[in-house]
């Protein structure tokens, strides 16, 4: 049995691990990947100390910092179940079982899927969840961006210089993203915005060649070769059932990063903390590690 298990190695989990290492705690980190959503971000201009850095570069710096401490890192491992029985926390992954006295859940969020016909079939065959990665592959093509928030508008802006035509499919009555981005998009002649519209179906042969959308009971076919899904994120919190979560599935924590279960802490985007930002997740990870340290001193 270890003192602490940290689940996830994004900004929250990595910062927690740095703090835990410096407190010389007996702990391990279990994670599917390193960097989390930060590694998928484009340009970062609001992480204090870096006036400008890209998401992957910042994630790499986080990783270097963590590895400086020779921690026990279980990479490519996914937690399937977590439960607390008496004073023991039992963690089951796709590879092993672990026992720990405390845990910090910092498993972050993942892209929400559309849940429509053709989505699985055409993933990476024209359909992508990472505009930052894959936008350059759609040079001169007609594409659709699904969503209306900041990440959708950001995807449109990235595609402006690349694509031939961009259809923005937004299911709300108006766009929700920042006005400054909206203005740039509305000025472009290659962007056509469909508000109050839903994507219904994706079709193609080997690759995507069109989508069906529905706007006020009217269906329309758009001939696109690329689809960028940017409809937000959902928390990776399914592996723990008996814990307080909000309607979105985020784990509810107090300002000490404590959940309703003693010894189980949570930090970063998987929680109900207001504002999902790299710097906030990092700070939350630090608080959670210090909280776990103090908890162990008490029990």
């Amino acid at each position: 049995m270890v003192d602490l298990v940290i689940i996830g190695a994004g900004p929250a989990g990595i910062t927690a691990s740095v703090y835990a290492a410096r407190k010389k705690m007996d702990f391990l980190v279990i994670t599917r990947d390193i960097g989390g959503q930060a590694a998928l971000s484009g340009d970062v201009e609001n992480y204090t100390g870096y006036q400008f850095i890209t998401g992957p570069e910042l994630a790499e710096k986080f990783e270097e910092h963590m590895r400086k401490y020779k921690i026990k890192l279980k990479e490519d491992e996914e937690v399937i179940n977590l439960e607390k029985i008496n004073d023991e926390i039992l963690i089951k992954t796709n590879q092993e079982d672990y026992k720990t006295k405390t845990v910090i859940i910092a498993s972050g969020k993942r892209s929400k899927e559309l849940g429509i016909s053709g989505e699985k079939e055409f993933k990476n065959k024209g359909l992508t969840y990472c505009a930052t990665c894959d936008a350059p592959l759609f040079a001169g093509k007609e594409v659709a961006v699904i969503g209306g928030g900041n990440s959708a508008l950001d995807a449109v802006l990235q595609l402006l210089k690349i694509a031939k035509k961009i259809y923005l499919i937004n299911n709300r009555l108006t766009l929700a993203g920042d006005l400054i981005m909206q203005e740039k998009i509305k000025q472009s002649e290659i962007v056509k915005i469909f508000n109050d519209a839903q994507i219904k179906e994706i079709f193609g042969d080997k690759m995507v060649n069109g989508i069906k959308i529905k706007k006020q009971n009217k269906e329309e076919i758009l001939p696109v070769q690329g689809i960028f899904v940017e409809i937000g994120l959902i928390p990776n919190s399914e592996f723990i059932k008996y814990i307080n979560k909000n309607k979105q599935g985020e784990i509810i924590v107090n300002c000490y990063n404590e959940t309703n279960l003693p010894g189980i802490f949570a930090a970063g985007d998987v929680t109900n903390v207001p504002e999902k930002q790299i710097i906030i997740a990092a700070g939350e990870g630090a608080k959670a590690a210090l909280g776990a340290f103090k908890y162990l001193a008490r029990v």
């Binding site: 790499e60 990476n124 990472c130 350059p136 080997k206």
Partner: protein, 82 residues
């Protein structure tokens, strides 16, 4: 340092893709030389990548004809005999 493999490795990537960066770090760590093709700079390279891999996601590795999609450590190791 002695090279770990003499196989010719090509990587198709884009500048801001984290999995591309992970593949490159992995190759560095194993002391493998590679040629990088930035598909954001060249439409023909992008088309070539889509043709050989049958899909539109980066990164794609071409290890002497063996095509590997994404950051798949086990497949990369196997192809390089690591």
């Amino acid at each position: 340092m002695e090279k770990n493999s003499n196989k010719k490795v090509k990587i198709y990537s884009t500048p801001l893709c984290s999995y591309c960066m992970k593949v490159k770090l992995f190759l560095h760590k194993h002391n493998i030389d590679y040629d990088e093709y930035d598909v954001s700079k060249n439409i023909e390279l992008a088309e070539e990548m889509i043709k050989i891999s049958g899909q539109t996601g980066v990164p794609v590795l071409d290890i002497e004809g063996k095509i590997i999609i994404g950051y798949n450590k086990d497949e990369i190791k196997m192809a390089l005999g690591l």
